[in-house]
Symmetry: D2
Subunit: 139 residues, 4 copies
C-alpha cells in the first residue's frame, strides 16, 4: 500500500488516531520499513517537558501497525498480541520519529522492531518490539 | 502513602493524568499491591467498541507508578525503564481494573506485575510487567 | 494429560531435556497450572554459587511447555514465539521451583506466566512470561 | 577491552561458559557492538535438528554481557535484570552468530539488542533485548 492508501485506510478504519488532530504522519515507506512521526501536544508531555512513555508506546504501536498493513494490505483485524519497550533517554518535548522494521512477516504472526528518536537526533529515545496476530488472509 | 496522599501528589506532580477528566481512580492500596481503574472515553475505544491497547498500557504504567509511590513515598523522579504487555482478550468498552503488584522493590529498581480485567469480570484482558528506576533515596 | 503421560511424552519427544540426567521434575499439575523443579548441577551455577540466568530461562520455558501440553494434549509442534524474564534476586545454589500458569489458551496462541523460587522460599527469584504458537489442532 | 582481554576475563571469571568445551567465540568487537558465535552440540539441538530456544537465549545473554564488558571494562558484577527474546524462524542445526549492539550505556543500566542468524545467512533467527544492572564504577 502507498502512504496515501494507508492514510485513507486509517482515516476510514481508525478515525480515533486523529482524535487530537493530525499529529501523526507517515513520513516514509520502504521495503520492510515505515517511518512515522508524532507532533506531541500538551497532553503528551510530562513535567520538565519530556514526551510521556505512553505517548511513545502509542507511536510505536501505530508505526508497527502501519508497516504491517503496508506489506499485507488493509487487514483491519490485525491485532497487537504483545508489545515491549525500553525507555533509554528522556526526549525533548518536540517531534518524535519512529522507524519501524519488520523482523518477521509470517502467515499468522508479524514481529516488528521500532526505534524512536527526536527529530534531527541520532540518539535512540526508546526501542520497542511488537507482535501482531494476522487474521487468515482470505478474510 | 494513603490513597488521598497519592491522589494529592498526582494532582500536583502529574496534572496531565487528568487531562481527559478524572477517569482514573485509585480503588485500593494494600501491602505490595494497588488497584487502579479507568473509565474509558470515546477517544480510548476502537472499532467494535473495545478499549485500545495504548489505553491499557497507559493504565498499567500508572498503576505501576502508584504501587511504587505507595511504598517508597513521593519520588517524582521514578521513571519507567521497561514495559512489556501481553494482550489476551478484547475487553468490553466499559471500565477496566488494573491490579498491580510489586515483584521487587530494590534500592535502584522496582519491578511490577499488572493484570487488567473488565469491571466485574474474572478474565484477564491483558497482563503487563514494568521496571522502574528509583532515584537515590536522599533526593 | 497426567504427570506420567507428560513424562512419557517428553522422554519420547525431547530426550535432550534429560541430557544432564533427570534434573527436571514435574511436581504438580492442576487446572491452568504446572509446578516444575530443577536440581541444578555444577554447570548451572555461577561464581558465588547462584543459579545462572539461562538455567532459569530454560526452566521457565520447560514449565510453560508442560502446562500447555497438559491442557491441549501431546502437540509436539507447539513452539515458543516469545519469552520475557525479569531477574529479581540471586537464588541460592539449590533446587528451583517454577510455578507456571496459563494466562490464555487460544486456538493459535497460548500465553503463560511463570514464577521461580528457591525450594522452601516464598520470595520470587525471577518472573517470566512466554507465548507459544499452537499448530492447528487437527495436526 | 580487546577480544583477547575479554577471553581471558571470561576464562578466569566464568569458566562455566566453557563447560561444554570452547563452543563460544568472540568473533568481532567494534564501537557499540560485539559478534559472538556458538557451535552447537547434540545437547543444544531439538528434534528435526534445530537449535533450542534456551541455547539462543544463552548466546544472546553472553553476547550482551561481552559488548557491555568491552565498553566498561572487567566488572564481574554486572548482572542481567531483564531479557526478552522473539523467536522468528527455526535455525539450521549449525553455527549461530549473535550480533549484539549497545542501545544505552548508562551509569546504572545498560540496554542491548541482539540479532541471531545462522552462519552465512542474512535472515534473523531470533531477536533479543536485555538490560544489565551496572555496579557503581568504583567497585
Amino acid at each position: 500500500m502507498s502512504i496515501a492508501e494507508l492514510d485513507a485506510f486509517i482515516d476510514r478504519e481508525f478515525p480515533q488516531v486523529h482524535v487530537d488532530g493530525r499529529i501523526y504522519a507517515i513520513e516514509d515507506l520502504s521495503s520492510g520499513q515505515a517511518v512515522v512521526s508524532i507532533t506531541p501536544q500538551e497532553r503528551h508531555l510530562r513535567p520538565g517537558g519530556t514526551v510521556s512513555g505512553p505517548t511513545q508506546m502509542t507511536l510505536a504501536d501505530l508505526a508497527a501497525y502501519i508497516v504491517i498493513l503496508a506489506h499485507i494490505g488493509p487487514v483491519g483485524l490485525a491485532v497487537t498480541t504483545h508489545q515491549s519497550i525500553n525507555f533509554l533517554r528522556k526526549p525533548e518535548p518536540g517531534e518524535l520519529i519512529a522507524t519501524c522494521s519488520l523482523l518477521k512477516l509470517g502467515k499468522r504472526l508479524a514481529v516488528t522492531e521500532c526505534g524512536i528518536r527526536s527529530r534531527g537526533s541520532e540518539e535512540l529515545v526508546s526501542h520497542a518490539t511488537a507482535t501482531y496476530s494476522i487474521p487468515p488472509r482470505e478474510s
